[in-house]
C-alpha cells in the first residue's frame, strides 16, 4: 500500500514555498503532485496599473535572485515596440550585469546544492566566493540585489572603473578554478550523491519544454544567448555548454562550466567597453501602440515577456513566463522510481524559484 508524504510548502532545501506530495512504496517514489501559488503577488496585473518607469521597478521584484533580468526583458520588449536602438555601451553594461547575476545565482545554487549533498565545507567556501560577486555588483550598481540598473533606452549607471571590476572578477575566477569546478566535476562525495540520479531524458526535456541548464544537461542545446542573441552576446562570441547525461551530476557540471564562460564574457566585455553614452537622450520615451515579445537567458533559463501597448503611459498587458514555471513540472518526470531520501536534492537540482513561478 503506497503512503503519501507532504514535502513543503515550507521546504527542506529552499526557503521558498511550494508543495510536493510524494506517494511512495517502501522507499521508492511512485507518484508526485506539485502545488504552487503560495507566493502569488499578481505582478502581471499590477504592471497594468503602473506606468513604464514604475513598471521596471515592479518587474524587478518578480524574483529576488534574477531581478535584473526581468527589468532588462521588460525594457527590451518596450524598446522593440518603440523601435528604440540602445547605445552600444548600454548593450555591454547589460551583458556584464546579466552575467554577474548568473554567477551570483549559480553560486547560490552551488552552495545550497552542497548543503543538500551534505558537504558543509563546500557550502562555506562557495558562499564566501559568492560574497565577492555581490561586492562587484554593489560596486557597479550600489546594491547587492535589485540593482536598479535598467531603464527603457539603456542603463541608469555607467561602469566608470572597469579595471577595478576586472580585478574583482579575476578573484572570482581563481576561486572557481581552484575550488568549485574541481569539486563539482571530480569529487567522489558529489558524484556518489548525484551521478545517475534524477535523470531527465532528452524526450522528456522536449515534452515538458524545460529551459536553461536543466535542458542543456539533457542534451538540448538551447540557450537564448545563442538562439536569439541580444545585448552584446553576438559581438562577444558566446559558447554554449551542453551535456547528454540528464542526471543531477550533469546539471551541476553544466552550471559550473557556465560560470567560467560567464567570467570570460565579463572580462571581454569590460576590456572592449565601447565609448558611447549609456542611454538614449529621451528619459521618458513614449511607447506607441503595438505588441512585442522579448526573450532573455536568465540563470535558470529563458525568461519570456509579452508586452502590449495602447500608446498610453501604462501597458495594456504584461505577460511574464519565468524559467521555473516550465522547469518545476519536470520534477515529476525525474522523481518517479527514485529513493525518497534523494528527493530534497532531486527537486533542488532544477534550481526551482517559487517567487518567479507564482509572480
Amino acid at each position: 500500500m503506497p503512503y503519501r508524504i507532504p514535502i513543503g510548502p515550507f521546504h527542506p532545501a529552499l526557503e521558498e514555498p511550494y508543495k510536493l506530495t510524494v506517494a511512495c512504496k517502501g522507499e521508492i517514489v511512485q507518484r508526485l503532485d506539485i502545488e504552487v501559488g503560495f507566493a502569488l503577488r499578481s505582478i502581471e496585473l499590477l504592471a497594468q496599473q503602473r506606468n513604464y518607469i514604475q513598471g521596471i521597478v515592479l518587474v524587478e521584484h518578480v524574483c529576488g535572485i534574477c531581478s535584473n533580468v526581468h527589468a532588462m526583458t521588460f525594457a527590451m520588449a518596450a524598446e522593440k515596440i518603440a523601435g528604440i536602438q540602445i547605445p552600444d555601451r548600454a548593450q555591454y553594461v547589460r551583458t556584464i550585469m546579466a552575467e554577474l547575476e548568473r554567477l551570483h545565482s549559480h553560486l547560490l545554487w552551488a552552495g545550497i546544492g552542497s548543503l543538500d549533498i551534505g558537504y558543509q565545507t563546500m557550502f562555506m567556501e562557495i558562499y564566501h566566493l559568492r560574497e565577492r560577486v555581490m561586492d562587484v555588483l554593489e560596486a557597479i550598481s550600489g546594491n547587492r540585489v535589485m540593482y536598479g540598473m535598467m531603464c527603457i533606452g539603456g542603463v541608469c549607471r555607467d561602469i566608470t572603473d572597469p579595471e577595478n571590476i576586472l580585478a574583482g572578477v579575476r578573484e572570482i575566477q581563481r576561486g572557481l578554478e581552484k575550488d568549485v569546478i574541481p569539486v563539482f566535476t571530480n569529487d567522489a562525495t558529489v558524484r556518489a550523491r548525484t551521478a545517475g540520479i534524477g535523470v531527465l531524458s532528452r524526450e522528456d526535456a522536449l515534452t515538458y519544454g524545460v529551459v536553461g541548464p536543466t535542458a542543456r544537461a539533457s542534451g538540448l542545446a538551447i540557450d537564448i544567448r545563442q538562439d536569439f542573441p541580444y545585448a552584446a552576446y553576438q559581438d562577444l562570441g558566446f559558447k554554449i555548454v551542453s551535456l547528454p547525461d540528464g542526471d543531477i551530476q550533469a546539471r551541476i557540471v553544466v552550471r559550473a562550466l557556465e560560470m567560467l564562460e560567464s567570467v570570460r564574457l565579463i572580462e571581454q566585455a569590460l576590456k572592449e567597453l565601447p565609448n558611447t553614452p549609456i542611454r538614449i537622450d529621451d528619459p521618458m520615451p513614449v511607447i506607441p501602440p503595438g505588441e512585442a515579445t522579448a526573450r532573455v537567458e536568465a540563470p535558470r533559463g529563458e525568461v519570456f515577456y509579452y508586452l502590449k501597448s495602447d500608446g498610453s503611459d501604462i501597458p495594456g498587458r504584461v505577460k511574464i513566463r519565468t524559467p521555473s514555471f516550465v522547469n518545476i513540472p519536470a520534477i515529476e518526470a525525474i522523481s518517479v522510481g527514485q529513493y525518497l531520501a534523494d528527493m530534497p536534492l532531486i527537486q533542488a537540482s532544477i534550481d526551482p524559484c517559487c517567487s518567479c513561478t507564482d509572480r
Partner: protein, 148 residues
C-alpha cells in the same frame, strides 16, 4: 525554413494572415484549429514557450501560443468561443500549467484538459481575477488622470 514554415502555418484549418516581424512569425487566426497547430509544432520539434491570455470584449479571451524552434519564434493569436477552446495538453505536456493558469486567472475553459484544476489561486476564490483592463481604459475606469 521561415518561408516553408509560413506556408505550413497558412495551410492549417482556420489559418489567418501571417506576418514576419522582429520577434518572429506572427499569425492572427480567430477561428484556428489549435490542435492542428499543436501537432504541426510538435512535428517540427518546436518548444512551447507559453500561452499569453488577454481579456477582450464580450467576456472572451485572446490567446497567443508562443513557440520556438532553434532561432525561430512563432506566435499564433486566436480567440476563445464563449471563453472555451480545446486543450493542447494531450499533444504538449508543457501546455498543462499554462492552460491551468489561464483557466485560473482568465476563466478560460480548456476542453479535454486531463486535470483543469486551479494553478495559483485558492479554489474558494472566483476565477478570472486578471480580467481587468490595462492601459488608458483601465486608468479611466479607476478614475485616474491620463498623463499622455
Amino acid at each position: 525554413m521561415s518561408h516553408e514554415l509560413q506556408n505550413q502555418l497558412q495551410q492549417l484549418p482556420g489559418a489567418g494572415p501571417v506576418q514576419n516581424r522582429l520577434d518572429g512569425i506572427w499569425m492572427d487566426a480567430a477561428d484556428l484549429n489549435v490542435l492542428a497547430l499543436a501537432v504541426l509544432m510538435k512535428n517540427i520539434e518546436a518548444r512551447l514557450t507559453t500561452i499569453s491570455a488577454i481579456s477582450i470584449e464580450n467576456n472572451e479571451t485572446e490567446l497567443i501560443y508562443h513557440f520556438a524552434v532553434g532561432g525561430q519564434a512563432i506566435n499564433v493569436k486566436t480567440r476563445t468561443k464563449a471563453n472555451v477552446i480545446p486543450s493542447i495538453t494531450t499533444v504538449y505536456k508543457a501546455a498543462n500549467w499554462s492552460e491551468r493558469e489561464n483557466h485560473d486567472l482568465f476563466g478560460v475553459d480548456f476542453t479535454g484538459h486531463p486535470n483543469l484544476k486551479r494553478l495559483l489561486r485558492p479554489p474558494q476564490l472566483a476565477e478570472g481575477f486578471f480580467r481587468q483592463l490595462g492601459g488608458a481604459a483601465g486608468k479611466t475606469l479607476r478614475g485616474e488622470k491620463n498623463a499622455v
